[in-house]
Symmetry: C2
């Protein structure tokens, strides 16, 4: 591999001149020509490490994700990547595999690798996280969770939960179940549930609401939904994620409950398949990709020292489809 010194020697100039040529300093037309030719002939590319060593920074943005096989993650990453590329940064993905310890580790590793900034698709923010953020001297942006000490971008899960809860209540459902996940995930486990609960509370006289809990796995969700149908038999089931809704639909099918005639089911997320399944799923579409782009914007602004809001919200929208029926029992 050729080095800048080699190029300089071949071109008959000093290292510094080549460096200046590479970085747009003042070099005469003639030397420019000479150097350019040598570089083309040798196929020289500068060593990124030597550059970063001096620069003490890179144009890499580290993105830490809890898992890779999730629609939300993929879409968000696509958004981040797309925008970052426009802004002339690179994205480095670090997968924590749903292990908080590895998440923390990744923060330090990225810092050591001199990432210019870190985007963390968070599920929870622990003291160890905060400790890490304070230790490393790099801008950090939280996506999907918030914390007052850190710049955050969240999906406004509570308002979205409220919207879907309200919608179901207004369709005349009287027995409504919510199938969520544990509170370890603040956005999904706490906020979505809270929003739904708030909406249903406003209809407390007419509706009976019950809240259940499962995991993010479709299979677990299917099992839990079956139990839930037995012990509560709701006319509508609001699920905290689209995957949970898939499981619930499977359960309904096994129980010979027709969606939406016997039971209405809703999801949360807006995965592409929700449109293709039958019946198509009413869900809350969260603009993950857009959120990713926004995250990229925010982190780069943070790096440049520009001002951004400490807390920002991404958009969502209710997608009304076939899996929800209107209930007119009360009119009979």
């Amino acid at each position: 591999m050729k080095t800048i010194a080699d190029i300089a020697k071949i071109a008959g100039v000093a290292k510094s001149t080549v460096s200046r040529f590479l970085n747009g300093g003042s070099v005469s037309e003639e030397t420019k020509r000479k150097i350019e030719q040598v570089i083309n002939e040798t196929g020289y590319t500068p060593n990124a490490f030597a550059q970063s060593l001096k620069a003490k920074q890179t144009n890499m943005i580290g993105t830490i994700v809890p898992r890779l096989d999730s629609y939300a993650t993929s879409r968000t990453l696509m958004g981040i990547d797309e925008r970052l590329r426009e802004l002339n940064y690179h994205m480095l993905i670090s997968n924590a595999g749903q292990d908080l310890h590895r998440e923390i580790e990744s923060i330090y590793t990225l810092a050591k690798q001199k990432a210019a900034g870190i985007i963390l698709l968070a599920t929870q923010v622990t003291d160890a996280h905060l400790q890490a953020f304070r230790t490393i001297d790099i801008p950090v942006l939280l996506v999907g969770q918030q914390h007052e000490e850190v710049y955050s971008l969240i999906h406004d899960d509570e308002t979205a939960g409220y919207a879907i809860g309200k919608y179901i209540a207004q369709r005349g459902h009287k027995k409504i179940a919510f199938l969520g996940v544990g509170e370890y995930d603040v956005a999904v486990g706490v906020k979505r549930k809270k929003g739904v609960a708030q909406a249903l509370r406003e209809h407390a006289e007419e509706v009976e609401a019950r809240f259940f809990e499962t995991t993010f796995s479709m299979t677990d969700a299917a099992e839990k939904a079956e139990q839930l149908f037995d012990e509560f038999s709701p006319s509508a089931l609001i699920c905290a994620t689209d995957n949970i809704a898939f499981g619930a639909m499977k359960a309904a099918y096994r129980k010979k409950q027709y969606v939406p005639k016997d039971i209405s089911i809703t999801g949360f997320g807006g995965y592409e398949v929700t449109a293709m399944m039958h019946p198509s799923l009413t869900t809350v579409h969260i603009h993950f990709k857009e959120a990713g782009q926004m995250a990229a914007d925010h982190i780069t602004k943070l790096i440049k020292g520009e001002d951004i809001p400490k807390l920002a919200y991404s958009r969502f929208e209710l997608v009304l489809r076939e899996s929800v029926d209107i209930r007119t029992d009360h009119l009979l």
Copy 2:
């Protein structure tokens, strides 16, 4: 930020001694203690760039993916990441966004960043690719496509295609359609089709086979499937991906064709949702995650100069579920 020189000064020893301590050279117990204490107090971490500058290599494996929002990609990445972590390497993901030009660019960028090796989840291998592989001086492993010049790991799409084709033919179907993608994707567009075609040819007397083409998008697939039902009305439809199968099922529903009573449909890939949908989808389950692990093994062996086969195959298995019916028309 503290440097190794600072640590050395504080501990009252030479830089080289600290370096030796860090890298397990011979250092007396006493100096070890002193240095360790200083490091703990200062929270020193070595600068990764300075290290790599001398080492001329990193422990990063670059992985180039065509797209992020694909089940196959996600699962493969998980496998790679998992195994790489065990082997003490890091994975750096570069998303080409289905743009071949960006794919080539990524190869050079990764080389410049001194990745120890490159895993390319390929869709096609062009001359520009080969040119890039030859230029950079880094081991490369192709996953999903093969080329004689490069180490490759493929999913044996042809055999898998043969298996599913045979299965459908043996279930007594007489009019069989295949819905695939263009030949630009060798694995999916050419090999899967070829395998299916081969199997159907072996039943040429009884079955009439027709081959159709669409894109990877569910929506496109749904449209194409509708047309196909009109002009050919097969009793079985073999789809080249699970996503295409989703689209086809939607189309069947729109056309009031019941799956599997009126039409049998099969997928390819083995996504998790295929089990949850109704009817559950008969498909070829490709062990993407396992393939990812295998890829990680192979690339690291390549880096260490160990011997690996030029071409390896990942496993697959037929997953028989509800979306295929047996046809007994010919027995009537």
